[in-house]
């Protein structure tokens, strides 16, 4: 097997230690991202992979890219991911059962084949010459070198990419724009509906949630004079999410008074 025979720079050993400590961590985090059930945990593991990659970039004399990696990926992109996760619902954990039968074994076999192919290809490839290293290209500093390339050879792709960014921002705005089907009711209309409606039961506003001495009661319905729970004393969102408790366990006589003081 022909090696690439790369030995660049004089800081070989510290970099080797860095690599052999961080590379297993990176692979473990990437694998964990696949295997954990909750999407939030996946996002955290993904962020750790990104930070490790940034360290690898910096170790490979790509200082600017390392900083950009941290700022753009772990900063902006992962924050966006977490934001959307919170918006869509943190509890929407993935059920790991497969819907297409036999998909998972096929995927694993195919990926092992693909990965083996890639790795053996890298192992057998030869450059035909020894590696150069970036000490000469980075003579005036990494940022200056990149800038002179970016604003001379790559100035046209640079402009195109800026157009792409603006298009993406516009596209996201169009996609996220929500058109109301009905017009929003004014305060006057809501007031009219309350008093001229079928019943005057809610004319003075909806009842507040039940107040219990031993529970923060926003999620527990209030009790009506006859002892039945008032369903409309609870926020509809709490009800829809299933975060609602029944008031039964707080009724007088049913409360377990022998309990210890709660922390």
């Amino acid at each position: 097997m022909v090696d690439l025979a790369i030995s660049v720079g004089t800081t070989q050993n510290p970099e080797a230690i860095l690599f052999w400590v961080l590379a297993p961590l990176t692979v473990a985090a990437a694998l964990g991202m696949l295997l954990v059930k909750k999407a939030v945990h996946s996002a955290i593991l993904m962020a750790s992979v990104m930070i490790n990659l940034a360290i690898f970039y910096i170790a490979q004399d790509a200082l600017f890219l390392g900083i950009v990696q941290i700022v753009v990926y772990t900063g902006a992109v992962m924050m966006l991911f977490l934001f959307i996760l919170m918006l869509v619902g943190v509890d929407s954990s993935d059920s790991l059962t497969e819907t297409i039968t036999g998909l998972r074994p096929i995927a694993i076999v195919a990926s092992v084949g693909f990965g083996g192919l890639l790795i053996s290809l890298i192992g057998r490839a030869t450059l035909g010459r020894s590696a150069v290293g970036l000490s000469e290209a980075n003579m005036n500093g990494n940022v200056k070198g990149l800038a002179s390339l970016l604003f001379s050879t790559y100035v046209w792709p640079f402009e195109v990419v800026s157009a792409l960014l603006i298009t993406a921002a516009l596209g996201a705005m169009v996609l996220a724009h929500h058109q109301r089907i009905q017009t929003r009711p004014t305060q006057r209309e809501m007031s009219t509906a309350r008093f001229r409606g079928e019943s005057l039961a809610n004319a003075a506003g909806l009842p507040g949630p039940g107040v219990y001495a031993r529970h923060n009661a926003v999620d527990v319905p209030a009790l009506l004079p006859d002892g039945t729970p008032a369903a409309n004393s609870i926020n509809a969102t709490l009800k829809a999410r299933g975060d609602m408790l029944t008031s039964g366990s707080f009724e007088l006589g049913k409360v377990d008074t022998s309990a210890e003081e709660e922390k």
Binding site: A30, D61, V88, G89, G145, Y154, A172
Partner: protein, 99 residues
Amino acid sequence: MDAANYLYLSALLFTIGAVGVVVRRNAIVVFMCIELMLNAANLAFVTFSRINGDLNGQVVAFFTMVVAACEVVVGLAIIVTIYRSRRSASVDDASLLKR
């Protein structure tokens, strides 16, 4: 240390990301796996830039990052739109065209 080790790492990460895209069903996790694949490609670009002593690879990696950022913005907007109408972020549920 052999700089080709970075290429092996990059190949591994790319493969893991590819498996994730196929196996996972939460659209957001699928997206994160696509990001992982893009990052693996970036690592390969940076490593080849070092091997060749040429900054062109780093410029390409920079462009990849910009394109990935665009992709994330539009993709997450699509996920939010789908979630708003279907109350689900699973890629298997959005199969309306199939039926």
